[in-house]
Symmetry: C2
Subunit: 357 residues, 2 copies
DNA sequence: TTGTAGGCGTTATCAT
DNA sequence: ATGATAACGCCTACAA
């Protein structure tokens, strides 16, 4: 077992000082040609690599990004991670992942754990429980400690930081307008409880689209579901809820669902009740995942471009990190808070498939 | 902006030595009651937390696990990550992720990047390109540097390390036997090229099941597909290939596919050709993902229990890491290589749904 | 009971 | 051209 070589060992072996080795390896020209050759050859032979941890301690930066998300077994989130990873890697950063599992306390613990030196900045999407409790102290504290945060998708106004979102409002409007344009008269909305900001915005988009076309929204056409129904164990309950909803509203000819699962389940129920899709009922879902592509019929969706969101988030964060670097040198007025946080909006895209005309 | 406090700052502020502060905070009883109180109160007020990086450097362990996988936007892999994360977190470890994107060089680079002190051990699944080139030097070097590796799912015999696999062979046998038991006479296999070990094993299981029932395998009933067809861009080609396959074999009454996508696509094609499922053709897929549950009809699958695999892998790795800790103290014969690597086999489970009788 | 000093691996500054 | 030293933040053996 050949442990990693250190500068010290090389120095001892070659009977020079540590600093000489360090300089030789960084190609400093104040080192004699022959010593440099010798040291570099030796280092190469023993496959010397500087120790990241030591560098991190010295430079006070780890070159790693902390990602904090509610759930990883989820097409959208993993897409975002992929985007982050691509950019991070290209720009010389690593990526460390924490899962909140939609729990406030796990989010806080994870954050504190990583904020103790392990990472230079966070990219995160807020857990549902946090959103519900509206307790954002951990974000604020982290930021006040000088650790920048970039939020994506599930963001909040209460915290000043860079954000990457999708235009949920506009995306929903477009989706519903598409349904209206293709002849739907009674468009149902299947959504979640309001505290998840994106759910709320999508609901508002739905209402706005109706309003723009002078269609009166009917409460009976809106189904608000508990999130827990999205869990695997409760798929059958979800199905029953939706079936009941259909039976109470026999004139439904269009459905806009705030996520893929609701949309696909609605299609399943509709077919079971002998509606034809898209002839009798058209369906559009928000979020473009695996299900949508492979559903029968395939589902028209509003794509969020998760990977692009991830890439943008990573670029925003790294830009800020490297900006901070420079500012460390020059004089910066402590009172002059940087108010110049960006919110990048990624355009949604309506991907038309078989579930609409 | 209140930066993180360090022991040094606290010491200076309270006019005691750094070691006194350190000891007071670790509740050492050789510190006077009052000084301890004072220091602890001060530390609490300023929300002192030891710096992870400094600890890592000192202890020569980072308490973080490196995960190296080919792809993250993939139900199985993200399930495994979830399992790893749960155990890692519970046992006080963080998780850092690298994606090889099925590329050999990215795998090597990622590995070297993380092996320079960032992590204590790896949990990984080998990229296809690596499997194809059969170049495993990076794994061996990492291990010889004293960094343990646990491989899962896509593993190889050539490297000595702990492994977590699913019994692909047995799982496939069971699946095919199920098809035989429910009356299938002409069972087709849809598989990948042989260099992906799991694909090979699943193919062998298929053959074995036939053999056990004295059924002669027919080459015409085996469709070997290029992996690239699993990419989104090529879904239509995949569909066409499978359709052609069906047309060349009009007696197929059962299908065993080595992954979910092939299985679902086969069902799609079968229905298009007016076969009824499961009456005319029964279908089973390996890997239980989102598609299987929501397909129409829902797909019978061989579940790999990804989360359990992740949990096992994490436990194996951490066990070894903490074992190494102890051994650092006692005398260990350098020549006495630890041959006692475990290979944990996770039992597969046949999840019966609507695509079989 | 408290302080001093050394070391983890690096790099940068200041001597020689 | 090379070496000694300090510093990053922490812990701990040894001194006092």
């Amino acid at each position: 077992m050949k442990r990693k070589v250190t500068l010290k060992q090389i120095a001892k072996e070659l009977d020079v000082s540590i600093s000489t080795v360090s300089r030789a390896l960084s190609n400093s020209k104040e080192i004699g040609e022959e010593t440099r050759q010798k040291i570099q050859a030796f280092a190469k032979f023993y496959n010397y690599r500087p120790n990241n941890i030591a560098l991190s301690l010295k430079n006070k930066k780890t070159k790693t990004i902390g990602i904090l998300i509610p759930e990883i077994v989820h097409h959208f989130f993993s897409t975002v991670i992929r985007g982050i990873e691509i950019v991070a890697n290209k720009r010389g950063y690593n990526v460390i992942i924490g899962l909140s599992n939609e729990s406030f306390s796990k989010e806080v613990i994870n954050m504190e754990m990583l904020a103790n030196g392990s990472i230079d900045g966070f990219i995160l999407s807020i857990s549902k429980e946090t959103l519900l409790q509206q307790d954002y102290h951990h974000f604020k504290e982290t930021i006040s400690q000088g650790i920048p945060i970039v939020m994506f998708d599930r963001v909040i106004n209460e915290v000043d930081c860079d954000k990457v979102i999708v235009d949920d409002y506009k995306g929903s409007i477009n989706a519903v307008k598409k349904l209206i344009a293709t002849g739907c008269k009674n468009i149902a909305l299947i959504t979640t409880m309001d505290y998840v900001s994106v759910g709320k915005l999508r609901t508002q988009g739905y209402l706005k689209a109706l309003e723009d076309h002078r269609i009166n929204p009917k409460a009976s056409l809106i189904l608000k579901l508990d999130d827990s129904l999205a869990l695997e164990e409760h798929l059958d309950i979800l199905e029953r809820e939706i079936e009941q909803f259909f039976k109470n509203n026999d004139k439904i000819d269009g459905i806009f669902a705030v996520n893929e699962l609701y949309a696909v389940t609605a299609m399943k129920v509709a077919r079971k009740l002998d509606f034809r899709i898209p002839e009798d009922i058209q369906v559009i879902g928000f979020t473009d995942g695996v299900l949508s592509k492979h559903a029968r019929p395939s589902l028209t969706t509003v794509s969020q471009h998760g990977q692009k969101m991830g890439e943008q988030a990573a670029n925003l964060l790294i830009d800020r990190l490297e900006l901070d670097d420079e500012e460390d040198d020059v004089y910066v007025d402590e009172n002059e808070i940087d108010m110049d946080f960006k919110t990048v909006v990624i355009e949604t895209e309506l991907i038309e498939r078989e579930s609409t005309k």
